[in-house]
């Protein structure tokens, strides 16, 4: 018999790993550059999840101080991730600009076609 309670308590970690692994697969196995970048942003998002899940305290609330509330979740991972999100979108913009230039140079954004063109040249 599977212990569903334990699974539920580990569920965040399991899903985080699954998302990471799937998006890693998208990044390394799919040939299309735009899809690779989508995978990269999904990977970033799963890293956010990795950081934010342990910060939660069941029964606590968001770290905005109010009277009559004692338990708050941990605010420090939130700060880190807030920075990471902004840096992530900067990376994404740069990557997409590179994709546009690759399209200009090779006429395609498929990885294998680019390799073929490089091999011929």
């Amino acid at each position: 018999m599977i212990d569903f309670g334990e699974i539920l308590l580990k569920y965040n970690a399991i899903v985080t790993v699954f998302l990471m692994v799937t998006s890693l697969y998208i990044v390394i196995a799919k040939g299309n550059m735009i899809k690779k970048l989508v995978g990269l942003s999904l990977f970033q998002t799963s890293v956010y999840l990795l950081y934010l899940s342990p910060a939660k305290i069941v029964g606590g609330t968001a770290p905005i101080i109010a009277d009559a509330i004692m338990v708050y979740s941990n605010p420090l991972p939130h700060v880190l991730i807030l920075t990471a999100i902004v840096v992530g979108v900067a990376t994404l913009a740069l990557g997409l600009a590179l994709v546009v230039r690759i399209q200009d140079a090779y006429g395609t954004i498929e990885e294998d076609e680019i390799f073929r063109a490089e091999g011929d040249a």
């Binding site: 890693l24 989508v38 998002t45 606590g60 939130h78 979108v89």
Partner: protein, 188 residues
């Protein structure tokens, strides 16, 4: 209750990720990524990360979608056909996933208050916000006060990325579109 909502949303996230993996139409992929961002923002809200949820919704669902669409326009967003199954990639991915699961299995359980993470620095910041003249939002306090130089550096990163995008796209044939893109990345 929180755990239940969290679990349902995470399951939906898994479903959408699989759909993105198997979807071959890039336009649909971008749409699904937008939906993914909204779901992820909801999860962040359930995990009590209010500010992060707001930023993720704005950045993930708003700006990223616009950037992807602009790139799709410039690259014509064709469908692609390629052999789907790559054994080496799957091997690498499964190995990495197994090791991650193995490593994360010993982490404290979800939502426990006695986890080591919650016992060292965080109470200090919370107390400071409660008792000293700090804003009630602890994340804001840390971000704009204790670590404001870090935030300045972050702004510099965005600035650098904007300049980078401008430089990369400078010599193109259609300067109008590249300017559009650069502005998009700049607004963050």
């Amino acid at each position: 209750m929180e755990i239940l909502v969290d679990a349902v949303l995470l399951t939906l996230l898994v479903v959408i990720t699989l759909a993105i993996l198997f979807q071959r139409n890039l336009f649909a992929v971008v749409l699904l990524a937008g939906a993914y961002s909204f779901l992820m923002a909801s999860i962040m809200l359930v995990l009590d990360a209010v500010d992060v949820a707001m930023t993720e919704a704005a950045v993930g669902a708003g700006i990223s979608t616009a950037l992807f669409l602009a790139t799709l326009y410039l690259t014509h967003g064709k469908e692609y056909l390629q052999p789907n199954f790559k054994f080496q990639s799957i091997l690498v991915v499964v190995l990495a996933g197994g090791m991650l699961i193995w490593g994360m299995w010993d982490m404290p359980e979800f939502g426990v208050m006695q986890a080591p993470l919650h016992e060292n620095t965080a109470p200090g910041y919370l107390d400071a916000s409660k008792n000293h003249l700090m804003p009630p939002n602890v994340v804001t306090a840390v971000l704009a006060d204790y670590r404001s130089f870090d935030t300045l550096g972050e702004t510099t990163v965005i600035f650098t990325a904007g300049i980078g995008v401008l430089l990369i796209l400078r010599g193109r044939k259609k300067p109008k579109k590249s300017k559009n893109k650069a502005e998009n990345s700049h607004e963050t």
